[in-house]
Amino acid sequence: MSTMAIARATLMKDLRMEWRSKDAINSMLFFALLVVVIFSFAFNPTAEESRQIAGGLIWVAFLFAAVVALNQTWARELRNQVLDAYRVSPAPPNALFLAKTIGNFLFVVVLECLMAPLFVIFYELRSVGPVWQLIVVALLGTWALVVNGTFFAALSIRTRSREIMLPLILFPISIPALLGMVDATTSILTGEASPDFWIKMLAVYDIVFTAICLMLFETVLNAE
């Protein structure tokens, strides 16, 4: 089987399991909803103010929610020693990594699609700049969070107190990506500045870290 075929098989398996259990999406969705409501209480912004702070709110909510899903990525493979079986099989490790990353990417994108209307309702959001740019930023930004998140989840699954470990190692590395997402979103919403630099920066970040993840994943998977 080729790398792509194995990746597709693993991805379809994960999507089917998620479709039947809806564990990740439900917990993410409820978590993000709580964050939105709590932020709304805490800041109680007017329409003008919310345009200024929404970039930060949206991405902090999605970042926290994504961690919930990322933590579950490898946990189900530990049961019944699936991960060990994968290590002794001749399947390329990067196929597994790509499948998991794309799976998480789809979960978080679905979450974003479901949450976007809520932000519009609760914060009276209306974009001054073009909305298609927001979609580009969302896709690039989500990949940036998810590719490193999936990799670091594979690191943190080997540690004690693994649920706590993931945000501790993921957040410092994600600071430039988060800065890019937040600033690009704010520039588009307020229409005051061009998000071009941030979109390019996110693209570079995505390419660089995807390459490093693919280079190092085999090493981490086989760590003894």
């Binding site: 690191l155 080997r158 540690t159 190692i169 600071i175 430039p176 800065l179 190092l216 760590a223």
Partner: protein
């Protein structure tokens, strides 16, 4: 293995302590007082060398981690662990002396300027590296830590670029005093002495910590061997 277990000669530690005494005297008493900033500028002789040692340590950490991933030698992992720890210590000194100097000179403790922010993020990354080392189990620590070190090192230039862009839209404070270009020769001499002393101090810390790490690893593998034989 045998050679690495040898002790650092005490004379080298004494030498560094004596050197630090001399350079402190030079920095606090001999160096001329800066015209606009006054005595507070003397913190420069500690601030910049600390930063230099911290960045040197983080670079050593990256090289040692890459070598570990390639060769899987115990020594390179011990060096990576030691350099991250020593680097975090010096980076902490850098982050403490910075605001102490900025407050009287710039009038603020902190600003989200490219250099300051990058240093803070660097500190955060290597603290999380140490947390990861502490929390990972047994034989996996080395590989996980080395992989994370690669991520951390690659992240730093991206952080610097993004913050510089982020803040160029706002006026950044004037960088007072820190530039070598305008440095008085008398100050430059004292500065270079301090730089040398701090570098030697960093190396001594690094070697001591490295030897400790090697001993810990040897102890751990002895315990593991004993447990395997069933005598533990």
């Amino acid at each position: 293995m045998e050679s690495s277990m040898k002790k650092l000669p005490p004379i080298s530690i004494l030498f560094v302590v004596a050197l630090l005494g001399v350079t402190s005297y030079l920095a606090l008493a001999v160096a001329p007082t800066e015209r606009t900033m006054g005595d507070v500028q003397r913190i420069f002789y500690y601030h910049v060398p600390s930063g230099w040692v911290a960045f040197l340590c983080f670079f050593i950490n990256f090289v040692a981690s890459a070598v570990y991933l390639w060769r899987r030698s115990e020594g390179s992992d011990a060096l990576a662990a030691a350099s991250a720890e020593v680097g975090v210590v010096f980076c902490t000194v850098l982050l403490i002396t910075g605001p102490l100097w900025a407050r009287p000179v710039w009038g603020i403790w902190w600003t989200w300027d490219a250099r300051l922010t990058t240093t803070l993020v660097l500190w955060l990354i290597y603290v999380s590296y140490l947390v990861l080392r502490r929390f990972s189990a047994g034989g996996q620590t080395q590989v996980l830590a080395a992989a994370f070190a690669i991520f951390g090192f690659v992240d730093v230039p991206i952080v610097y670029m993004s913050i510089r862009w982020f803040r160029t839209q706002h006026p950044s404070p004037v960088m007072g005093g820190g530039e070598n270009s305008g440095l008085d020769p008398a100050m430059a001499h004292v500065f270079l002495f301090n730089l040398a002393a701090f570098t030697l101090m960093g190396i001594v810390f690094l070697v001591l910590r490295y030897k400790l790490q090697m001993s810990e690893q040897a102890l751990e593998s002895t315990h593991a061997q004993a447990a395997l034989k069933g005598v533990a």
